[in-house]
């Protein structure tokens, strides 16, 4: 079930309902054209947009106005794109981020 607000009391009803396809982590989804990527993913039930680079804990929408960078994803190969500010286009390839290796810290844990 989609929880998208289609008739907002202040903003009014959505007139254009053109659904476009995009992929998130190699899975195909559909969302409304030009809605924010974060909204499209949320409407598809996806709340975890990435995992913290160091600890690996899940991250999703936080401020949703573009200043916290918690929703950053890789769009068409470009990293660090804010999902909350990016309008959805046909055929977008979106990938989330994950935990990064910490070789220096791992090495130190054993050798110090």
């Amino acid at each position: 079930m989609s929880q998208r607000i289609e008739d907002h009391p202040v903003l009014g009803a959505i007139n254009e309902k053109e659904y476009v396809a995009f992929t998130f982590n190699d899975k195909e989804y559909k969302g409304l054209k030009n809605e924010s990527l974060a909204a499209a993913l949320l409407a598809n039930g996806i709340r975890t947009l990435r995992y913290h680079e160091e600890s690996g804990t899940p991250r999703g929408i936080y401020c949703n106005i573009g200043h916290c960078f918690e929703c950053r994803v890789t769009v068409n190969g470009k990293p660090g794109v804010r999902a909350c500010l990016t309008p959805l286009k046909e055929g977008m390839v979106v990938e989330s981020g994950g935990k990064l290796p910490t070789p220096v810290r791992d090495w130190r844990a054993v050798h110090e």
């Binding site: 160091e54 804990t57 200043h67 916290c68």
Partner: protein, 89 residues
């Protein structure tokens, strides 16, 4: 999850507990608190938690009102290096 486990700085994953413990242990300024815990030093550039880190440091530092708040550093808005240097492809 208790109140103390709330993550204040989400970029560097610093909890409220870590911040108040560090601030009371070292009785330090906002800048020192930031450098010790890495709160406000992450990807977003402290735009989300700067005022919270300021407030924690100001409240804990033995009641003297001589705290200097954390500074704002350019670029105040995040820009891609590519947009700054403009490499034509």
């Amino acid at each position: 999850m208790t109140e103390k486990d709330v993550v204040i700085c989400r970029c560097e994953e610093v909890t409220y507990k870590e911040l108040i413990e560090t601030a009371s242990k070292y009785n330090c300024s906002a800048r020192e608190l930031k450098l010790r815990t890495r709160a406000s030093m992450g990807y977003c550039g402290g735009r989300t938690c700067r005022s919270l880190v300021d407030k924690i440091a100001a409240e804990i530092e033995s009641g003297q009102r001589n705290q200097i708040s954390l500074k704002y550093q350019p670029p105040v808005r995040p820009v891609h290096f590519g947009d700054l240097g403009r490499v034509e492809e």
